[in-house]
Symmetry: C2
Subunit: 192 residues, 2 copies
């Protein structure tokens, strides 16, 4: 059985979704593919590189075309929701994407669509970048917590006893809080 890089990433996503990040080991993935573990090192230099490729794949699957016919803040909210959806679409997706990005791995940047959207508000590059990274960190933190709780309650225990804390409503609230802050800053003078 001969595989290409993409085939292996695809299968890794399946293993991730079915068994979780903790059980996505090189040996397990190899077994799933009917390969020796060492065969994976022909395609990826390390497990880190494999996980970065998987995270990139999840981000690509969640990609949406940017809507430029809409106010900048609506576009920011849309970009935030698109990222959240991509993180929630597969088991442990939030943790994986957040970790890969925190370590600076990964070729697909979740920051770019946010910067693009904020930039349309005409606040200037410095504030656009600061606002976008603030939003990105908020999204990573919020959705990671959201998914952790989702999984804890799906696996377990007493059920709806624990306080929710992180859900879609509080996501929107946090996001709008940051946008309210961004709006306080005067737009930089426009060129045209």
């Amino acid at each position: 059985m001969r595989y290409r890089r993409g085939d292996i990433v695809e299968r890794a996503v399946e293993v991730l979704d079915r068994y979780g990040l903790a059980d996505l080991s090189m040996r397990r993935l190899a077994a799933e593919l009917g390969l020796q573990p060492s065969a994976l090192y022909h395609h990826f230099a390390s497990k880190q590189e494999l996980l970065a490729a998987v995270a990139d794949d999840l981000l690509e699957r969640g990609r949406r075309p940017s809507d430029d016919d809409v106010p900048w803040d609506v576009a920011v909210v849309a970009a935030g929701h698109a990222l959240r959806d991509a993180m929630l679409a597969y088991r442990d997706g939030a943790e994986l994407i957040a970790t890969v990005q925190a370590f600076g791995l990964g070729r697909v940047s979740p920051l770019v669509p946010l910067v693009r959207a904020v930039d349309r508000g005409g606040f200037g590059p410095e504030l656009a970048r600061a606002a976008a990274t603030t939003i990105l960190h908020f999204v990573f933190g919020h959705v990671s917590e959201e998914q952790a709780h989702l999984q804890a309650s799906s696996v377990g225990a007493i059920g709806d006893d624990a306080p929710v804390g992180a859900d879609a409503a509080s996501f929107d609230l946090g996001l709008s809080l940051i946008l309210d802050g961004v709006r306080q800053h005067r737009p930089a003078p426009s060129e045209h």
Copy 2:
């Protein structure tokens, strides 16, 4: 050699700071203490529980008394800085604290001082909680990235070539952006 829980946590913090989170294994820690790995399981039910205790210890070491003689937003900034300092004080502290908190482990809550501070602004409990968690997620994300870059540049490579991205100035900028957003919301009517 007979140890108590606290002794083991203390030594774990040393191992963390010297060798990093990846090398803080149960076997390594046991060797450092002159114990068999199994001995640790007399004190901690699992590695997760040990790591939660270490994260709690880091948060406790960074604790500051809340200053109530100062405007609410100054208190929020102070609480944010205290948390950031606690995360940066030891190697991989940011990643450890953020992970432990994301999984809902840990008895020391970094959220409480933030909620306390925002609450003094009189915005009501719902907004106070939303603002505090938004800030918490921002702090976790920002400082994790900050520490990852610090470590990458200390270990390595060409030096100051890479863009900084996350530093003390952008931390303050992000924090003030969120505070600007919070200020937009009318304080709830006060009791006195």
